[in-house]
Subunit: 334 residues, 6 copies
């Protein structure tokens, strides 16, 4: 494992095959455990990760010092080989060395949207420019001009595991719901396109405060204490005041409340954490447009990622109350 190797393209976890040897490559250490074999010697059982998945690692003839040296949730350079174990691969570590975190390409270690973040963000802004109501437009601009918030908005996943659970997932899902809104709502002239565009943009923005996604995805304490629905409601309050300061006029209270209601009610049922049920046409529309995109992503991802190729069905998905039928009966997913 020479320090000065020229950069080889990464062998991602999903690409590894039994027998393959890795000379020198960085992994994120998901977890570690020091264990004793039945004949009394120590070994380390660990989980090595990159953005494509994770592999079980084993370090035979280990010492306590080696164990201490491994940073959980951090990075090391590894040498070793992939082997079959219980029908899955495992990685037998031959050596490991520290790595300078600044040299680590973080994007290799976290799942990420397949689309271009800048382009998606531009498209979001383009769609929001369709808002005609001056107050709403200024309110939306307050969000767009909040650099720190937009930084999070561009990177955050949309959820920890249900749908769009990857870097940029929140942006991708928001973009999709905006597109659906533009495709569909003009058919219903009594439903306010302005309100729905603003609502679609902001419906999950509270997740930037609810989810932490630096090295792995987790809920924040703040997120769990007040939730992303209320968080977004607080921000709308704050930004509406900023609009008032900007214009010197009162922000129309009805419009603000209708927008906050849209956010608070979009989960559609009390059990899913909405303190209010949808009470306006815009609110019920947002609920279904959000679900259409989120649920389709969930179903399609479960089908794509299912590891068991011998069954036509996925495992039971508790949130759906059913398994998902994977068979491509129309021959379109080949």
């Amino acid at each position: 494992m020479s320090e000065s190797t020229t950069h080889r393209p990464r062998r991602y976890v999903k690409e590894l095959t039994a027998g393959e040897v890795i000379e020198d490559q960085v992994f994120l250490i998901g977890s570690k455990d020091l264990r004793t074999t039945s004949n009394g010697s120590l070994y380390i059982h660990c989980v090595l990760c990159d953005k494509t998945g994770q592999i079980l690692g084993r370090i035979w003839q280990a010492t306590e010092a080696m164990f201490e040296q491994m940073p959980e949730g951090g990075f090391l350079r590894f040498k070793g080989r992939a082997e079959n174990y219980k029908g899955s691969l495992q990685f037998i570590v031959d050596a490991m060395r520290p790595v300078d975190v600044r040299s680590v390409e973080l994007s290799e270690f976290m799942p990420q949207t397949k689309e271009n973040i800048d382009e998606m963000f531009e498209r979001v802004k383009e769609m929001l420019r369709r808002i005609k109501n001056r107050h709403l437009l200024l309110l939306v601009k307050q969000f767009i001009n909040d650099k720190a918030l937009m930084e999070g908005f561009r990177k955050s996943p949309a959820a920890i595991q249900m749908h769009h659970a990857y870097i940029g997932g929140l942006l991708e899902h928001t973009r999709n719901v905006l597109e659906l809104t533009l495709s569909v709502i003009p058919r219903y002239p009594e439903v306010s396109l302005d309100l729905l565009l603003a609502g679609a943009f902001l419906h999950d923005i509270g997740k930037t405060a609810e989810l932490r996604y630096e090295t792995n995805f987790q809920y924040t304490s703040e997120g769990q204490l007040i939730g992303h629905l209320v968080q977004a409601t607080l921000w709308i309050e704050e930004k509406a005041k900023a609009v008032e300061a900007e214009t010197g006029e009162p922000f129309p209270q009805d419009i603000k409340h209708a927008l906050q209601h849209l956010i608070l009610s979009h989960h559609g049922q009390y059990e899913f954490g909405s303190p209010k049920l949808p009470a306006t046409p815009e609110a019920i529309a947002l609920h279904h447009l959000d679900n259409l995109d989120a649920k389709l992503d969930l179903y399609l991802t479960k089908i794509r990622d299912d590891p068991d190729h011998t069954s036509e069905w996925t495992e039971y998905v508790r949130n759906l109350g059913t398994k998902i039928f994977k068979k491509d009966v129309m021959g379109i997913r080949s």
Copy 2:
């Protein structure tokens, strides 16, 4: 009340004002009741209807014979005047006479879609022609070519009271769900447009057997015993056999089952009468597209028809678990 009056334009129930006199006009008799006043004389309390609504009718100095002469659910010609009573109008009947049912313009007595039935039906057929899968296309044609069924499909309401509850409502709602499908589904290339077009077309077609809508809207016994979800499933079975007879080839069982599953699961929850929960991307998509149109129609209709103009909210709507906020905060429904 002369027999040979030239035809005057109808004064609809919603147009009547206090004090107005009606010389001779046909009403549908919704219900009738023979009552006694506190001084012992008889009067008839009845409900008179046309497609715009209903008005309480009273016939003072009535006789049993007059009461017998009135056909419940049928038509008579009335003379009388509208009066205020308990803040609502009532119609004081001065005279009534039989009418030849063949001369009655039925369209004046039942609520009806505001759109053109022929045009909507053409549009439905046009959209269905996009189906590329030969088997599905032939299956859909079997339905389109079933004259009796299409007769019902063009006229049936989509529901008794929840949404699109008028003549042509099923067609209008089906057309809408097809339009939504075409607007939205091509964004998701892993979701079968063919299957969704067929499913959108057939999802509520069982209602033509479930609802009776000759003179007023009612559930049929058949509808209540097996339901429109199972009814449509039976028809798909039958039409698939007809396709087999037509082509001499077996109908692909997987496709048939996937389509039947779409219909059976589209209510989305067991409590709403779906014996299966959505287990395919197409099924979950149809559930949300159907709901988007049906719920928007429900919300907008409740807002439009709410009789109480002093409140910003409708009455509590049991199915929604909430009242609906009527105020047009964005100024778009004026």
Copy 3:
């Protein structure tokens, strides 16, 4: 009905007896309806109210003009007599005249706490002074010093019909929960008394925005769109910023979130509109202390006010899922 009568003590609705004559007294007009008798003459059916209850009023030989003159939700001076009708009293109006609203003693027309509002408010402030944490104490003071808010806090009912449904009810209920907190929480040294005192004070304060109680009790549109839990959360955000401005220090975010969580979760179940379930010892404690006082008031009020003295049980109370047993088996409520 002479204009210059010296002021007689009011005969409250609950005091009226059959046959009693009222020469000149103001009533709140709850509702009105113009009706026709079976012989065709007009009469007005109305509901006359004061803080002790309501009585059916009838005005025979009425005219449309008389009807127009009556302000629904407003006040008039009435002359008439109480009579038995269907086992209840009704008030036969002989004459009615306008009244100058400024001369009306509003406290005679709305149910009101039996305790002294000033004393209760002093007691609340006294209890809040026990808060030791400087930030929380300043936050609470921001609320206490908000004159408009405190004006509402002192007058608002705690609910429209479930418990403490009278002027001053919110203050009385809040005072009670604070007293329970002080009696009980010091037994549990691991539970923060500071946090609970602040939480008990603020748990229902959003109701000042949710309920309108000028002439009768109603939900506001704002209240129904975002709810009193989220409203209080918004105010805590705003007041915490004011504390930061006052002190020049950041308000501890953990404490703010813990307090907001207390408010958001105090209904204890999603179905009751809490978007978060109690996740801290303080939150679960507030939930039970709030319920202890609110439910006891509900049970005791239902028992006191039950009009049917022939049964040992009240009517079925939907929210409780049971009737209430009224019998005073221990002989303490005589």
Copy 4:
């Protein structure tokens, strides 16, 4: 392990004792896994099954080739010995060889009813002959004469794990419900015995399409997409048409719908997949008679098969919401 051993009676899994040696016997391979020991050598971990149960198998000193040779869900001949491991038996494999599947006695590998299938089927037909209504009787005969369907009906289990989960279980359960019907329904002359006999016969017949039971029990995709309730409803539709072809008369639609309703509603609750709730006396009766037999079988089987003899209770049974009390307090199950 000589090829030409005379046939020895099988040692069933439940009969094996620690230390026992098996010279040559066929097992169904339930699952297999290739694993590495801590010193790096390979072994195979597998599950060996016959109709009495399953035993963990281990093959030390294994090779990849040996692993490949083992057909999951298929059969091999094994030599080895039973040993204690973690308080349970495991089977240490010394050798294994292919077996000609045609020579395998399938009945030794799947749990099977303890009763005689022919006799039960005769009894079912005998009971169905009591049906007096000509149309219903012809309909039932259409089913009885459908050889392929009856082949499945005689062999299918009634469920995968809840009750009568063995070959012939559907027939046994159906026979039982028919017997209960005959014992009980004549006490209620207003309940149609004809309808209930037909309904009892057909209530679970859709399971022949829903369950696959060749080598092990599984749901079919078709079964999971449309379910056995709707499947039976489709078959009734088809057979009723066959009766019409046979008789040249229309099949009474009311009777057909009442029978289909019986099938669709017999689970009794929406959550259990019934799209309709029982709306006829026959439907509610079938629901309880079906449950009486199915639940008794479930309780008695759980008691009989419970492996833990130190407790008076079984494990918690999720579907029942309770543990089952096993103690034979009346001394009848010895």
Copy 5:
């Protein structure tokens, strides 16, 4: 209305026709109300009952004295005539006189089983003699020998309105469940017939304390406070002690608890007031046998008594979650 009329056969409420005159007949007064007509004169509105139903009564030109004289829940002799009013009959009272309650044939005023109470009770005792376990048999005898309890057991209705809601209904329902037990349980030799016979006998016996049925059917306060399930459990405790006193031996605790469990769990679900779910085969069997008889009685009674002959369906029955289909499709209920 002469005092000494010879006894004429009663004209029951259900037999009355419009125009019919009643010279002198006793009615139970269900309720009474003193009202004023629109011209100011008094009249009495009352409900007159016998066991076949109730009819609205009116007494024109009434006085307060007349009103006072009428005993609510008691009896008077009436003269008057039946007339049509709002499509129903009402009874115009011409005169009324006191009646000696001892001369009233109570059986004419309360609905009553159509079977013979003595015969049913003998049959119950005969079936209980089949119990072989000595302790259980003695326990059952303690109940049978409790004269006061058996007096109530023979007369009590089984419920206030759901099923067997008439004098002798509890006995009839208990007899039925015992018959079902004897028909069905011997098919399941692992289920204790002894335990089920005792359980079937006692399952609803607590209703004798829960329901009051002297002049009309009501829940007792005791019944509503502890319920008939717990009441029966208390009695089993008491009677088991009496058996111990009788035999000088301890009553087997297991058997007592199993029997108490049977009673406590027989409603089958927590929501129906069972504090325990069925945990023994006997308990689940009793639950379904009880329901089979109770629900069939409910369905058949609703069908028989439905007043609307124009619809094939009853009204929606909340407890069932559905309407009931009344049509006699098999032609057996004519």
Copy 6:
């Protein structure tokens, strides 16, 4: 491991550190299992317990005889050493010997209240002396004078795992609820303090029959068949009869039923096993006071005992539907 070692203070499980050697100490054997290593030799895997927790034990080179000698749920003396294994400690046994159970200090092996049992019991009796109603006071004395029952009451845990799950826990929880009652109820003069004191004392007393707590905590069969709510109700019935025998007067039935209702309804919801919902002010008060203490104990215990110090949240607690936030934001739990 010499027999005659002087008594050393126990090294509790929670105090053990890696590498520590234990010469001779008694452990409770929680479970045991005989296993084979991959090289075929036997070892014993067992769980060793004391009141502070449990540790995995391993005995290498074991024999079947050694395995037989270990009493599951019983005691042995052990020699060995603690070692790290998979990040946790395990205990490698070098030798083990029988121990005379009479010499075992049981209090070292079961978790126990930290308070003084005698003092708590005295306090309970002192509080109960406040009861003024003579009948209730005598009833309570019957319980206090029942030595066997009080023995159980002083020692029983309040629950198996939810709250106060230790020896003396029932007494501690009961004492707490009584204290809360005395602090709170005098504020509500219409609520009977007498009834609530008796109810608070008896609300969980049935748990002495429901839980077994000799060597470990388990539900009894009796407890699972009838439950502690009904058990306490039976005892009140029995003790009330004893009071009648003592006084020669009838015990007031209303008071007895109100007390029994208090016990039966105190879980507050059907799903939690209450056959009746709280129908009196006392019942609803007991429900909330009981929950206040029980839930606070649950939250605080979960926070104290949470093994994961890297997260601010506990694991998800199914009964609460949420995780618990552990962070001590107010700095009071240090």
